[in-house]
Amino acid sequence: MKFSSTECLLDLYEEKLELEDYQSGVPRWCTGCGDNAILTAVQRLCRDEGLRPEKTVFVSGIGCSSRFPHYMKTYGFHGIHGRALPIAEGIRLARPDLTIFVNTGDGDCCSIGAAHWIHALRYNMNLTVFLHDNQIYGLTKKQASPTSPIGTKSNTTPRGSYLDALNPLSVALGVANASFIAQAVDWIPESLFEIVKAAYHHKGFSFVRILQRCPEWLPKLHEADMQEPDAVQLLHHENALQISPNLAKVYKNQLKHDPLDIHRAREIASSTDVVPVGILYQNREIPCYEDTRQTGILRTPDIVRKGLEAEFDKYEV
């Protein structure tokens, strides 16, 4: 399927958009919530890349983080719990001309929507996906999520959660056709922005797990990691991200990692002693489902008529 393209309109715009051109409403997240940091990084990305607000769609599911589209002055689709990805896929297949972002939480993506997540990785559609992983259900007031560390006390696990946490990076790296897997943390804005930007520029399903703080329900979860810079391990490579001199001064724990090395990526994803930050895996060669399914046929009334008449001929009696 081909869309009668509206791309030509884009060149008519010369105006430079500012941050406030992408801002909408006052975020109703808690003070200190990591969602604010992600919103800031993404709004900056939109401005720096000059994204047309009418050609940009933010899609989300349900949860604290899924309020995200309401705070963007673009098109937005605040969907239903767990289903942000298939909604975004429908938009993608219908509209190759749009820029599409997905905001999803750890409950939304890794629990109720887990089936869609696995298959979205495999479809490898051109979507930029942010997993806002605060390791707890926030909107429903503190229940353990699949990514809560074992022993997390919550309203459904008052004596501590029972299961080891699901590792979204390991899961994602286990799926055929995964093409971009990265991890960021909300408390290093510069690195967060660079990773968000790299994800946006990757053509394919860019999956960024963002460790974010929940000051309301798990205020101490990342306290130690934040106070000890060496707890964070910055990944760098000439084919991935470089570490700026500013960051390098603070974050000395650095690892050169080739983003095409999936085996090494899986080892890094499984680290328990450090928090890896950067691009774990990127493969630009994996085809996008929407390109694979492209028929190249511009749908016109005449094409439809001819196609139908040919079928009617088959069934004529």
Binding site: M1, K2, F3, T6, L9, S24, G25, E54, K55, V57, F58, V59, H70, M72, K73, T74, Y75, G76, F77, H78, G79, I80, R83, L85, P86, I87, A88, E89, G90, I91, R92, L93, A94, R95, D97, L98, A115, H116, I118, H119, R293, T295, I297, L298, R299, P301, I303, V304, R305, K306, G307, L308, E309, A310, E311, F312, K314, Y315, E316, V317
Partner: protein, 637 residues
């Protein structure tokens, strides 16, 4: 009605068919006949039956074919429950349903035949053409079972004729199992005086994608069957045809549905495999891309629906096709489309329920869930095509309604429509069927994404790409700006607008047509696939002087105007449906606890008319003779 009673004997000369030999047996002229071809699964009886139906249609006969499908892909060979095949009602005039009992059956073994006998699907004096190879089978148990069944069938009065199909086919092909169906087709073409060339043409079309050698091999078997029949049968039939004035196509309901999707201007179909809906998507997968469309097989039913919602939101209306269990799974996403006012077409090819139910069998059990499904008040349009032809046009109508009212349109068909074949007038393509290009114009300053019209509730929708239209759609209660509603009056306003749209659509609909007198003793109300059988039964009673009329509803939500007035003009009103209703004759059932059928419940609630119901959930099409009996009962009560 027995076709044989109304038949008359004529000679071969006057039968009028080119293939009728002057020296052949007398040709019995019939008004109609019901023919079955049954075999173990995989022996090709279905293809034989479908081909016979198409050949009959080519001759200008009215046909209705019904698939006989076992529940499993490969049930054990020679099992009573394993009959696979096709049932073709062939008539002189237009045929609207599968009819009553079978007049002639070709069976590849006696066990599958037993299943049909036990299900009382065969007429008492039915002609049975039975594969004779089992009589001399090496396995003594098989041979004994065959002989015993044969004797019992003869004793029961069936006209059993043994045919050495295997033996004859082995003369022409090493694998008789794969060719027997064409031999049988040849026999049937002889017996019904069908033009052999029409049969050859049909084979060429059926096997069109395969090599010429395969087509030739099948034609040889066809001709052999024809020749064998001409040398061995001392009877022959002719069902004079009254060819339609305009070109006809013959398809089943799912194919018609898929063609309708192609013609409707929809460009995407998202689905997940489920019986009996999948064949529509199979066909669509094959042909949709040729016209720039696309079928996406999603990871599950929920994803298929959410995908369709996303595609519709960003583009033209999208369709998702499913059956009962899948429909249940889609409910939340359907509610989202209702809430966010995103056009969406959902097809539910109903099967037996609840739960896994009877996947290959037909039922009308999902009407209530179609209307009331999804939590909260989620008003949507529910339509039900009643013929194969309507399956085609329903897609065009559904897409138009969905986009005009920014709402969900549920189209209910069922397994019976999905798998039955019937000829209908070849559609004349109309450009107006297609959707206009999506609106990418700038939105005027100050325009709101949900600027609900005070009278109709309709608002213009903004599609991504439209400058100035940026907003976030949400499943949360929202105001005209699509902002999350914190004011209690806003929720009230949103629900009102979405409900008004249904009323606005109703104002555009015409009253349903009453078949028969517009007043009388009994009115039968139906919906969906039962139309042909209901109308045939009512017509038969009218011919006997009974004051019975019928009305068939295409819109179940909203209901067409004028229905109450129609109901009130009859002394008694009842529905005939294939869903559950309690039998008032059951010991503990009375007026205070009787659960009425879906449509009867709706009619009673909406029109305050005492609507009775009769229903059956055997998974089979309801026979006109059964309905006739029920209506007579109701008249006499």
């Amino acid at each position: 009605m027995s076709a044989q009673k109304t038949s008359k004997k004529t000679t071969g000369k006057s039968a009028g068919k080119s293939s009728a030999k002057a020296a052949g047996p007398a040709v019995t002229e019939l008004k109609e006949h019901i023919v079955e071809i049954i075999s173990d699964s995989g022996e090709g009886a279905q293809r034989c039956g479908q081909s016979l139906g198409s050949i009959a249609a080519r001759m200008g006969n009215g046909i209705w074919t019904t698939e006989i499908i076992p529940a499993e892909i490969r049930p054990p060979a020679r099992s009573v429950a394993g009959a696979s095949g096709n049932r073709i009602r062939i008539g002189s005039g237009y045929i609207t349903n599968g009819g009553d009992q079978t007049d002639l059956v070709v069976a590849f073994n006696e066990q599958v035949l037993l299943g049909r006998v036990r299900a009382r699907e065969l007429k008492p004096n039915c002609i049975i053409l039975l594969e004779s190879m089992w009589r001399t089978h090496n396995d003594i148990n098989i041979a004994m079972a065959y002989k015993e069944t044969y004797s019992r069938l003869v004793e029961a009065g069936y006209q059993v004729r043994e045919v050495p199909m295997e033996q004859e086919c082995l003369k022409l092909t090493p694998d008789a199992k794969r060719g027997k169906n064409m031999f049988a087709l040849g026999m049937l073409c002889y017996l019904y005086s069908f033009d052999l060339q029409a049969a050859r043409d049909q084979i060429a079309l059926t096997f069109g994608k395969k090599a010429q050698t395969i087509i030739d091999a099948n034609v040889v078997l066809l001709e052999a069957g024809h020749k064998w029949a001409s040398e061995n049968f001392d009877y022959r039939f002719c069902i004079p045809a009254t060819p339609a004035k305009q070109a006809q196509i013959a398809t089943n309901g799912n194919t018609a549905l898929a063609l309708g999707v192609m013609a409707s201007g929809m460009e995407l179909c998202a689905m997940y495999p489920i019986t009996p809906a999948t064949s529509a998507s199979h066909y669509l997968s094959d042909v949709f891309e040729k016209v720039g469309g696309l079928v996406h097989q999603a990871e599950d039913e929920i994803a298929a629906c959410a995908f369709a919602v996303g595609a519709s939101y960003a583009s033209k209306c999208t369709v998702t096709i499913t059956s009962g269990p899948g429909y249940s799974l889609k409910q939340e996403a359907i509610g989202l489309a209702v809430m966010a006012e995103i056009p969406l077409v959902v097809v539910n090819v109903q099967r037996g329920g609840p739960s896994t139910g009877q996947p290959t069998k037909s039922e009308q059990g999902d009407l209530m869930t179609a209307i009331y499904g999804s939590h909260g008040d989620a008003p949507k349009v529910v339509m039900a095509p009643a013929t194969i032809e309507e399956c085609f046009y329903s897609m065009i109508t559904a897409r138009k309604i969905a986009e005009s009212f920014n709402t969900v349109v549920v189209v209910l068909t069922d397994a019976m429509l999905a798998t039955s074949q019937q000829p209908f007038a070849r559609p004349q393509f109309n450009e107006a069927w297609l959707a206009p290009p999506i609106d990418q114009s700038a939105v005027p300053d100050g325009a709101k994404p949900y600027d609900w019209d005070a009278t109709t509730g309709i608002a213009r929708r903004f599609i991504p790409g439209q400058p100035g239209g940026m907003h976030t759609v949400t499943g949360l209660a929202h105001d005209r700006q699509s902002h999350v509603a914190y004011d209690p009056d806003i929720n009230q306003e949103g629900l009102r607008a979405r409900s008004l749209k249904i009323a606005a659509l109703q104002k555009t609909l015409l009253p349903p047509e009453v078949v028969g007198d517009d007043k009388g003793d009994l009115l039968v109300v139906g919906w969906g696939s039962t139309k042909g059988a209901i109308e045939e039964a009512a017509a038969a009673l009218r011919a006997e002087g009974k004051k019975v009329s019928s009305v068939h509803l295409r819109f179940l939500q909203p209901m067409q105007p004028g229905i109450k007035e129609i109901l009130q003009r009859f002394k008694k009103v009842m529905t005939i449906e294939t869903n559950w209703s309690d039998d008032p004759a059951d010991e503990i059932i009375d007026e205070t606890n009787r659960r009425y059928s879906a449509l009867a419940t709706l009619l009673r609630a909406r029109y305050l008319v005492d609507v009775d119901c009769w229903t059956e959930v055997k998974g089979q099409p309801v026979k006109p003779s059964t309905i006739r009996r029920v209506l007579l009962d109701k008249l006499q009560k």
